[in-house]
Every structure is written in structure tokens, then in C-alpha cells.
Symmetry: C2
Subunit: 369 residues, 2 copies
């Protein structure tokens, strides 16, 4: 292989695929990145078997070919190259790749390209397009709510449910659930998939949601892939029967509070200082008399208390939550005012954007004395 | 105690003393910060027995008093207070300090103020002033070269040596030594002290070197203290016979190279990518024919090579160094061009600023095959 490309495009492309480079790989080849010349393009691919990412950049190809080199070092080197143009030359006999730019030459030992695990072509049962802005919004509003531990793998991903013109994404760790609904212009048949949160995080990072950009999504029974701009991402689907999320949405509320979102978030951030290092990270809400009083206590440190204005209907209550679960939800609320609906101090709370029902966040309170 | 002060001044003062708060204290009181009202000031003090820092801020005192609270939480809280003015009130019976600002009230359990270990007044044998700009420069040019491990505690500090109008600071970890000389307007008697690098780091961070600011330094046989602006810092001196650093400066050089400092630093940063995770972090310099060629090799990764222009006198040589030792020294070289003097591939190298001899950096090469 002998090609040239720009430093900037190489660096950006390597950064794009780098999240699919295995960090502690079962076999060394999974820590590599594939560079493969295809006509006037250079294909760049990483695949850790869970997640595969591929992109391409323009390249001048003198001798075509394919190589695999260390993902970590390719990323570091492409960032540090001093010039604008990079030449990439593979010495077949020495099995060494030379990256040269200006006066610097990096020689990297190549992996055996025959060992590369190509991203297998998906055999689609379903294929559809979503506006990038819709898709990124679905992810942003829900993905943080997924479980981080693998005890029930299904909950480490988000449910994507499509039904006609309705598209819903749901993330939960069983203690709280984030639900986001959007409508799409074209009606689609009903389908349900559980997509790993890691892949969704990459999609949110990489998809450009400006203008009319869209993401093409294709699914088989086991995998899902996403195509947008010059990027292709494929990931395994998670299996499992996602619990019927509609059932956890409380039917009615006895107490409804309307609060300034930014003010509430700032107050929780302050008062939560006391509880953030305690076991249950408990923050207490005391609602009533047009005030929301937030408090937290630690026997070793002390306590904090702050009151903010709240429009409260339905009476008084005190109820405790995990401070992080509140902060994460409030951070994705886009309206100036948020609505907190309660129906008892041990019943799940329902948090929404004011005058909108697209986003619903249900959080189980903490039982306190 | 009942006082008010500004949030900004409290936060800044707590940040100043925070580096003297013990992180893993042998007794809990050392993790605290003392707040003590003195007339129209609030004194703020931390003392981990190695290092003590004290400062003061203006305060309106209604009821004078002294309290000790958790340094960590005081720092977090003073940063998060929402208003401009803070009231600090101590409830003697509950042993609770209330920090109130706007609508937020933090109540912190207080330590027993009787347990506080006050920074002991030093009994000075010597006292002198140094321009802050001179003192900070001495620190900046040498402190990074100190040892980080405690196997020979003396080398975890810098030697401060004064002789008439000459003031010299020296840092070494025995593999490299950084020497910085300055002249001072007033002649002083001869003296030598070894100051812990941690205290020097804080002095460099805190001393304002603008204008004619100066630092007052006082020493006893065991301790040294520094007074500037509103800040007082006291630290233990390190004991030991600092080796005669003049003797390690090579008398003559057979090969002298002059190189653009920024260009050399950038090239070392690039080529060093290969060696930075290897055991000896070796980078090879090959000098001759008006070129300096830098190279590094790792059997597992590959190698890197870059050439830059160098004005070389005296012949050709190749010599290897620890890449970090070079980077750290080049970062404090303030001249466009630096001078590298060599007298053999196993003899210490001497690196200086062009046409200046105030700063001398001697580094032992790595023996390679």
C-alpha cells in the first residue's frame, strides 16, 4: 500500500472509529484499526465484535492495499503529525507501515491483515430513515438512564419502539425510567429493538444533526446498523423482554409542582453536596405553600437546606430521591419550567417538561424515616 | 462566632490554604480549616504539620470567635454558595457552623477548636526579602527536577543557596540536575537551605510576581517561612548534605549544538510517542552535519525518527536520554535557541539557554548498545 491523505481527515477519521477499538482485547487484532485503500478513498475501520465503526476519507492511491495497525498508536500519531499531508506506505517484507509527514516518520509494526475481523454485512429485515435531529434527541433524553452494570444486560441498552408515526426510546436501570416520544413523517410498521447504550452514545457523538441530515437504520434479528454522512456503525442488539414501560407511568397525581428548571438544578447541585458521598445520595423535597424546600443530611458532615419558589397544587408532601437521578433528568429538560407530579411519598414521581408530554421521567423515591 | 464576608474572598482564601489540608490525616483535625475572626478580618489557616498556610480576608464581625470545619467541605461549599455575601454563624451548643448565602444554608459539624494545631511561630535566625519575580523564576526553573520518591528525602526539595548577591536554586533526582542563578540587589550572608518541593510549588502558584512585589523569607534551623501579599506559608526544612552541585557541571565540551528550542521540544514530543510507555523512555540524538536526528524504538510498537536543523560544532555523536527529562528542561528554557554541550556518549550533557548561563541543566545519558 502507498497512499497520501490529509492529516486532518486522517486524524478525524481515526478518532471516529477509535471507540470501537478494543481496550483489553481477547486477541490482539481487535486492538487494531484497518486502513484499506478503495479507489480514491481510504477506508478506516475498527471492530471490537460488539461494536463496529467504519468511515472513509479521500486519498491519493499509488499502490492499493490493506493494513492493520495498533489503534492506540495510530490515534496518537495521527494527532501529532506535524505536516498537512501524510503518506502511508506499507513495506510488505518488513511488515512495517511508515506514516510520514513533514520531517517526522513513524514506523509501526503491522498486524497480520488476514487476521482482521471484518464488520459482517447485516442482512436487513427492516430498513428506514430517521431525521438525525429526531434520532439524536431520542438518545440524549434517555441514554443516561440505562444501567451500567451487566446484571441484567437488557437494561444496559435503550428500547427503540416504532409504531406507525410514533417512535419512542426508553432507558431504565429499574430505579428510574426515561421515556422520549417523537413523531416521524413516514408511517412505519411496528418494531422493537434494544440497542446497547455504548453504540447510542457514539451515534449521539458522531451524527451531524444540522439541516435535513438523516440516519439510515437497518435491522436483522441480531444486529442493527446506522449509516449517515460517511460513517457506518453496526452493533449487536440486546435480547430480552423489555418491561411494558407504559404501565409504570402513574395514572394520576395528587400533588403537582411547577418549578423553574435551572433554579431547581442549581439548588439540587448545592444541597446535594452533602449527600453526594453518602450511600443513598438522598435529597429530600418538602413541597407546600408555594415553596419547594430541598434538604440533605449526613451524620458525619452536617446538612444543607434551600428553598425555591414552586407553584404547588394539591397539598403538602415530603419525599426523598437519589440526587443523581434528579440531576441527570433535569439536565435534559429543555423547557424553562418543569412539572413534578406526585401521588404519595412512596409512590413514583413523574417529571416532565411544562406543557409537553414527549418526555416522561419516572423515578422511585427513597424510603426514609 | 458570627461574621459576614464576600463569597469570592472566602472562596479564594479557602483555595489558597487548601493545599495544606491533610488528605489522609493521622488525626481528623488536620483535615480541617481554621476560621478565626480578628477585628475586621477573618483569618483562614490550614496546617498538615509539614506545611502550614494562612491568609486573611476582610470580614464584618458581630461576635468574634474561632472554629474548625472540614477543609474539603468548606472548599466545596464556598465554591457553590449562590450569593455574593456569606454569613458564618457558630452555634456553640450544637457545635454546628452555618454558612448562609442567598437561599442556601449549609450546616457543618465543627471540629473541637481546642484540638487545632496552630502554625507555630518561627524563631528566625535569618530574615531577608527577595523580589517575587526572582523567587518564582528560581522555583520554576528547578522544582520539576526534584525526586518524587522518598528514598532520599533531601532530593524531594530544592537547595536554596545564597552567597552575597548570588542566589542559586538547585533541584535534582540524581539523574539530572537543574541549576538556576539569579543576582539580588542586597548582599546577604552565606546560607544554604533545602526547601520541600511541595511548598515551593505552592509559593510559585500563590506569589504574585507583578510589579515590585517581594517575598519575605525567614529561617530557623528547622523551618522556613514566606510572607507575601496576605499570605503566610511555613514549611519544615529538609536535612542533609546536598552534594556540591558545581562539581557535576562538565568543565568542557567536545561537541556543541545550537537548536531552536520550540522546534526541538515539538520533535521530542512527537518522536517520544514511541518510547513514552517503554521502561527507559529512551530517545536517541544523532548529531552531525548540521542536523539533529531524533529517534526512538520499541520492539513491540515500531519506531519514530525526525531530523531538525542544528548548528553543530565539534564532530558527530549519538547519545540517548530519558525523553521526559529533556521535555521538562526544554519547557523552562526561555530563549529561542538552546545550547546542548556534549563530551561523550556516556558523559553528562549540559543544556543551557543561548548566550545566558543563569540556567544550567545537566542530564545523565542512557547507556545503549
Amino acid at each position: 500500500m502507498k497512499i497520501t491523505c490529509t492529516k486532518r481527515e486522517l486524524m478525524d477519521a481515526v478518532n471516529i472509529v477509535s471507540k470501537a477499538v478494543a481496550v483489553k482485547p481477547p486477541t490482539p487484532i481487535l486492538s487494531g484499526i484497518l486502513l484499506s485503500s478503495e479507489g480514491s478513498s481510504l477506508k478506516i475501520e475498527a471492530n471490537n465484535l460488539e461494536l463496529g465503526i467504519r468511515t472513509k476519507i479521500p486519498a491519493n492511491t499509488e499502490i492499493p492495499g490493506s493494513i492493520v495497525v495498533s489503534g492506540k498508536y495510530l490515534q496518537d500519531m495521527s494527532r501529532k503529525l506535524s505536516g498537512d499531508i501524510v503518506s502511508i506506505v506499507y513495506d510488505d517484507e518488513a511488515k512495517v507501515v511508515t506514516l510520514q509527514s513533514d520531517s517526522i516518520a513513524f514506523k509501526l509494526l503491522a498486524f497480520n491483515v488476514e487476521d482482521w475481523v471484518h464488520i459482517k454485512e447485516l442482512e436487513p429485515e427492516v430498513s428506514f430513515n430517521l431525521p438525525a435531529v429526531t434520532f439524536k434527541n431520542l438518545i440524549r433524553k434517555t441514554v443516561y438512564a440505562c444501567a451500567h452494570d451487566d446484571s441484567r444486560p437488557m437494561f444496559t441498552g435503550c428500547l427503540l419502539q416504532i409504531d406507525g408515526n410514533d417512535i419512542t426510546m426508553v432507558g431504565t436501570n429499574t430505579h428510574r425510567i426515561a421515556i422520549m416520544r417523537e413523531t416521524i413523517p413516514d408511517s412505519l410498521e411496528s418494531m422493537k429493538y434494544i440497542i446497547p447504550s455504548k453504540a447510542l452514545g457514539e451515534l449521539a457523538r458522531l451524527a451531524d444533526d444540522s439541516g435535513d441530515n438523516s440516519v439510515t437504520i437497518r435491522c436483522s434479528s441480531k444486529d442493527i446498523d446506522f449509516t449517515f454522512d460517511n460513517i457506518y456503525i453496526k452493533t449487536r442488539l440486546l435480547s430480552g423482554d423489555f418491561p411494558p414501560f407504559e404501565k409504570v407511568i402513574p395514572r394520576e397525581a395528587t400533588i403537582i409542582a411547577r418549578v423553574d428548571t435551572a433554579e431547581l438544578l442549581a439548588a439540587i447541585d448545592r444541597v446535594g453536596l452533602i449527600s453526594k458521598e453518602t450511600d443513598y445520595k438522598t435529597i429530600k423535597f418538602t413541597l407546600g405553600d408555594n415553596r419547594l424546600t430541598l434538604s440533605s443530611t449526613s451524620p458525619e458532615i452536617g446538612n444543607a437546606e434551600e428553598s425555591i419558589i414552586a407553584a404547588v397544587e394539591g397539598g403538602e408532601i415530603d419525599i426523598s430521591f437519589n440526587v443523581n437521578y434528579l440531576i441527570e433528568a433535569l439536565k435534559v429538560i429543555d423547557t424553562k419550567v418543569c412539572v413534578i407530579k406526585l401521588s404519595g411519598r412512596l409512590k413514583p414521581a413523574d417529571i416532565r417538561e411544562a406543557d409537553r408530554d414527549e418526555f416522561i421521567y419516572i423515578v422511585t423515591p427513597i424510603r426514609t424515616n
